[in-house]
Amino acid sequence: MSAPEWFFYGAGALSIVSALAMVLNVRNTVAAALSLVVTMIALAVIYVVLDAHLVAALQIMVYAGAIVVLFLFVVMLLNLRSDTFAPPRQRLLKAAGVVLALGVTAAFVSLVPSSLPTVRELPEGFGGYRAVGTELFTRFVLPFEVTSLLILAAVAGAVVLAKRRLD
């Protein structure tokens, strides 16, 4: 039994509002990070509506619970309180960029609906940890192992970058 659909629309509206709050918030960087957390939680709700239970749990655990905390750490350590608007000569260029992005999105949105696949019936236990775990360890075991190497490289890189020089 899936959750009723109005969860999707409510969470979708919340995610759009908080995404806008994050992007348009100039004065308070910490509030921007918190808006990002709200966006991610709203997206996790949408994942549950779409029967992607394991992905929703991992979204909250990893994304909302660790990555944004890392952002907050850096903001607090560097004591970044506020930002400023771009100077006037830059604003025209940025406005042009925004208009271009809008145009591309409009083109995309108008092209996509004609090429969408039809929705199929869901097998039992879709999106649960057993099904995704089985796939992860049988068909996709090579990417899975490669990501462990990626994480190792990222950890080494982050430590080297953020370490204080000993001179």
């Binding site: 909250i60 619970g65 905390v69 750490f73």
Partner: protein
């Protein structure tokens, strides 16, 4: 649909009233009295009404009244919204983790089934971890919103500790998942309803063909505690460190840093932080009970045996109801035992230094939990299921 919704609301209210409303204040009293008994003193016993002090049981009420009537001081230069939001962000995930913990089993009443858990999620434990990872935000925001250097440093340390122990918290239970083959807490409880023969592995070795009757009598309940002893110890340690519970309470060390990241909080905001820590003690107790101590099951008395024993006397409906009540009582007895254990640990162990705490997590817990997973996998592979 309506019956399901009504049931869910009833169970939620039960949890909030009992666990939050009854247990949390009593734990504040237990903390004082148990520490007093352990330290050979009397403890708090002055709060009374009309001169009658009942063993100091009115102290929680006095605490709540004091916290409610104190002034809420917001430091100058702090963001008011964040200052208010931090205790709420700290308290909500803790209460929300109760949603997947079963305080009773599954009972058949004629044609209706009662499942005494608010949300029987297939990925129950992942929900608890997800919600626990959201609890770090309360700490982080509290330090930032206080506009105080030392609060900030305290909160960064605290959240670093919380995040580190989340990792080992998850890894230490992987062995348990492998043994019980499920993440659903109700199924784990049902699987722990059984017993296993302690010397059954001798049969697997082939040393004896069948275990003689007098040796087979030596049975232990199939609790997580006996199937995964190392996992139990590690999980309890990690989840107490996650809660910033003593002995891992360096972030809020009462004798060292004033109060660490919630120095600047007073009145009901501090009350919320304080209460959420004690509610999390109950969550830890309930979680370890559900995972390791067999949840609501009574040892050596599986549900069918119990219902079958009472039915000839009272009939099936009453027997099931009685069984349900007994199971709920058993669950709460075990929760109380776990709370007592946490209090014992708190008042016995000294406080390690912060780098020792982090060393414990990354250098000891992480390799140990991986070894636990490895050994469990070996045992399961070679011997099917131990016995």
């Amino acid at each position: 649909m309506d019956a399901v919704l009504l049931g869910a609301i009833a169970k939620t209210l039960f949890i909030i009233l009992v666990a939050v409303g009854v247990f949390a204040p009593i734990i504040t009293w237990v903390e004082r009295k148990q520490s007093a008994v352990m330290q050979d003193r009397i403890g708090a016993n002055r709060a009374g009404v009309a001169g009658i002090t009942v063993l100091g049981l009115l102290h929680p009420l006095a605490d709540v009244i004091k916290l409610l009537t104190k002034e809420d001081v917001v430091p100058q230069g702090a963001s008011r919204g964040l200052h208010l939001a931090a205790p709420l962000i700290a308290a909500i995930p803790v209460i929300a983790s109760f949603a997947v913990i079963p305080f009773g089993g599954v009972y058949q009443f004629g044609d209706r089934t009662w499942n005494l858990v608010v949300a029987d999620l297939d990925w129950g434990i992942l929900y608890v971890f997800a919600v626990a990872s959201l609890a770090t935000y309360g700490t982080v925001i509290a330090g930032w919103a206080s506009n105080n250097n030392w609060s900030l440093l305290g909160s960064l340390r605290a959240s670093a500790q919380m995040i580190s122990y989340e990792v080992t918290m998850g890894l230490s239970i992987v062995g348990l998942f492998m043994v019980f083959q499920t993440l659903r807490l109700t199924e784990m409880g049902l699987a722990q309803d059984d017993t296993f023969r302690l010397l059954g592995f001798l049969e697997r070795f082939g040393w004896v063909d069948t275990l003689p009757g007098w040796l087979a009598w030596l049975q232990l309940p199939k609790w997580g505690l006996f199937l995964q002893p190392l996992g139990f110890v590690m999980f309890l340690t990690c989840v107490m460190a996650e809660n910033k519970r003593p002995p891992f309470d360096l972030p809020e060390a009462e004798s060292e840093l004033v109060a660490g990241y919630f120095t600047e909080y007073s009145g009901m905001r501090f009350g919320l932080f304080y209460m959420s820590e004690f509610i999390e003690v109950v969550v830890i107790a309930a979680l370890t009970t559900a995972l390791f101590l067999g949840g609501w099951t009574i040892p050596y008395l599986p549900q069918e045996t119990l219902i079958g024993a009472i039915t000839p006397v009272f009939g099936v409906g009453v027997a099931t109801g009685l069984c349900m009540v007994l199971h709920v009582v058993a669950f709460f007895v075990k929760v109380i035992v776990m709370i007592w254990l946490q209090m014992q640990i708190r008042w016995t162990l000294p406080r390690p230094r912060y780098d020792q705490v982090m060393d414990l997590c990354w250098k000891i817990m992480l390799p140990l939990s991986l070894v636990n997973v490895f050994v469990t996998a070996l045992v399961l592979l070679l011997w099917g299921n131990g016995s």
